[in-house]
Subunit: 418 residues, 2 copies
Amino acid sequence: MERESYPPFNTGKSFDILSQFAERANKLKQSEIRNLFSVANRPDIISLAGGMPNLENLDFKKIDSLISEIILSEGNTALQYGGGQGLPLLREQITEIMALEGIKSHSEDIILTTGSQQALDLTARLFINPGDVILVESPSYVGALGTFMQYQPEIIHLPTDEDGIIPELLEESLIANIKAGKKTKFLYLVPNFQNPSSATLTLARRVAIIELAKKYSFFILEDNPYGLLYFETPPPPALRSLNEEHVIYLGTFSKTFAPGLRVGWALVPHSLREKFIIATENSNLSLSNLNQMVISAYLSETPYQEQIRKFAIKYAEKSALAISALKKYSPSEVKYTTPKGGFYLWLTLPPSIDANKLLPLAIINKVAYVPGTAFYANKNGNHNLRLSFCYPKPEQITRGVQILGELLSAEVALKNKN
Amino acid sequence: MERESYPPFNTGKSFDILSQFAERANKLKQSEIRNLFSVANRPDIISLAGGMPNLENLDFKKIDSLISEIILSEGNTALQYGGGQGLPLLREQITEIMALEGIKSHSEDIILTTGSQQALDLTARLFINPGDVILVESPSYVGALGTFMQYQPEIIHLPTDEDGIIPELLEESLIANIKAGKKTKFLYLVPNFQNPSSATLTLARRVAIIELAKKYSFFILEDNPYGLLYFETPPPPALRSLNEEHVIYLGTFSKTFAPGLRVGWALVPHSLREKFIIATENSNLSLSNLNQMVISAYLSETPYQEQIRKFAIKYAEKSALAISALKKYSPSEVKYTTPKGGFYLWLTLPPSIDANKLLPLAIINKVAYVPGTAFYANKNGNHNLRLSFCYPKPEQITRGVQILGELLSAEVALKNKN
């Protein structure tokens, strides 16, 4: 039978649906991440911008055979709705992965999420009242800042050095917030090979920060995508391995296996488990069973730890190339971090050079990076930029850093002349 | 090298992380959906509870070959991060699917989401200030109510009959809200084969509701998972086909293909596109490229419209079985709807029988349903229940409805005796 037809319709007076926005919608800012993807996708640009892992070394034939087995023998489960918390077997396997970083955990306290991004969103949603203080590193991960801001906190960037957050200055901030009548909800940290600075928090500082969490009754949101991707020396044990009560720990398969499956997790204090499950169901009902089953099979049936070491060695080589090109081509006025793991280099330019203003010129010269302002909720970061060495090919890294180094040299020379 | 070791750690004074919750966390209620999954998974129970599609008729070999092709020839893309809005090709294909229900759209205004559940969450997040009024049907979809409640609106259930929302009573509510100084943000509707009532909104009412949206400046959140799953006659055209400005339209592949891929979409007024993309990136960065590519290939390379008709015919047969068993076994005091599409039957029990109180007895007798209270944000629905005929086998439907009918007959007899 035919669908019932309808008369011509006059849409009448105009309606501005934007006028209906909630207050929090005004806190959503244009994502710098998305801009990066569109630039990174242009084939003529050497992108040192996006934090995409390099998947070239994955065994696609093996992955294909794992998926075939799942679809043909368990297709009815793989393509059906799953439970909100995630597959029990995969959660068990994740306890073993976390044990590699010293964490003792129970699979009942793990909630699987759409990458760790969803876990950031769930944590922010559950804990941030408008006006609450959230403490973050200087600089901090752009994706976390955007997600937090939706819920209208006050974001305070804490001073850091090459060893991460400085506990004494953290305590000063905590005291100042108490005096100002502000509630500090949590401290957000990427303690290992931080995005974007590549800093790793020392063990002594981890211990000191947990003592402060206990003294001042806040919790730590420990986001650890890169911990297993160390170049030579493993980072200190996870904060979660030192304390269970004050830490929500986030992990992901996006950097150690494949981001396209969109599977990460939160390990939460047991008392939070129920609320996290409800919140994740409200967000998406359940994760993709298929994707969870692919990861579970990958963990069971391939030497994934060896694969992670192979990835890390590749990244170490790429990092060394980038450092070597910076040494050769960037002016002495430009400072940069020396990564010991992860994906990123953080550059500090002289005060006369603004990384945002330089970006169009860089793109004209066929190289892209992320300006430092993306990693601050305030107006800082103008004289910083992030370089990612994870995705580009080795020759692109050398060439891209050379172009950027020469641009920076020219800018420095120009400023000195004026 | 070995990971640095750490001293024994005293966790010191106790910390109640629950004390850190934001106000909205207190609005998260235990999900009835999750309880259903755990009951439905017990093999000895005939579950008429969950709204899971029946996947038996899918061609798993074909799906496997589509996935193999993707992994082996485009694995680097499929397993990599994607863009926040979703794959352009799939968005184009979705415009064609929506055209089947009379909708003219541009792929630029489509945002792909983790099922339509994520689109519900994004809409609620962008639009609900605490205290705003959200209008919903009586009863309304449980998953939407839970998601809305996180953002602290006042949810008002509007009277409905077998043809859905009654425009005159909608207008009364709008006027009453204005008089009470309340802001009505949006009206949430499942216009076709509603979950849980199976009601379908008539064309005349669709037109009248859009006129009211224009007159009173609110928008309609049109959630349409079941529109293509009509048994004989297509439902009236989508509200979105009648008006672009006042409608956010949600679709999903969960009922017409496979929920395990977790892909749905929102078609939004053009002015909202940017904010929706930012909000979805804040939620999960991007959807799974692999899952999007699987759906895109399925749409390109299989006769999916024929497959949807085959699904619908199976569901029609199952609905007829359930109705026939209700006629035979349920007491005359119990009323029920007659579905013309979708997955659900809605029962109205006599006032003496409480569907929540009956449920443990039903489960002891090996049959499960969803009590009506799940579909109300207020205390209503005690004398209703939802039966799903989508997932169980035909003989289970007949047997399950028989058990339930006999239980209800016994309850009615008992109450009459007292």
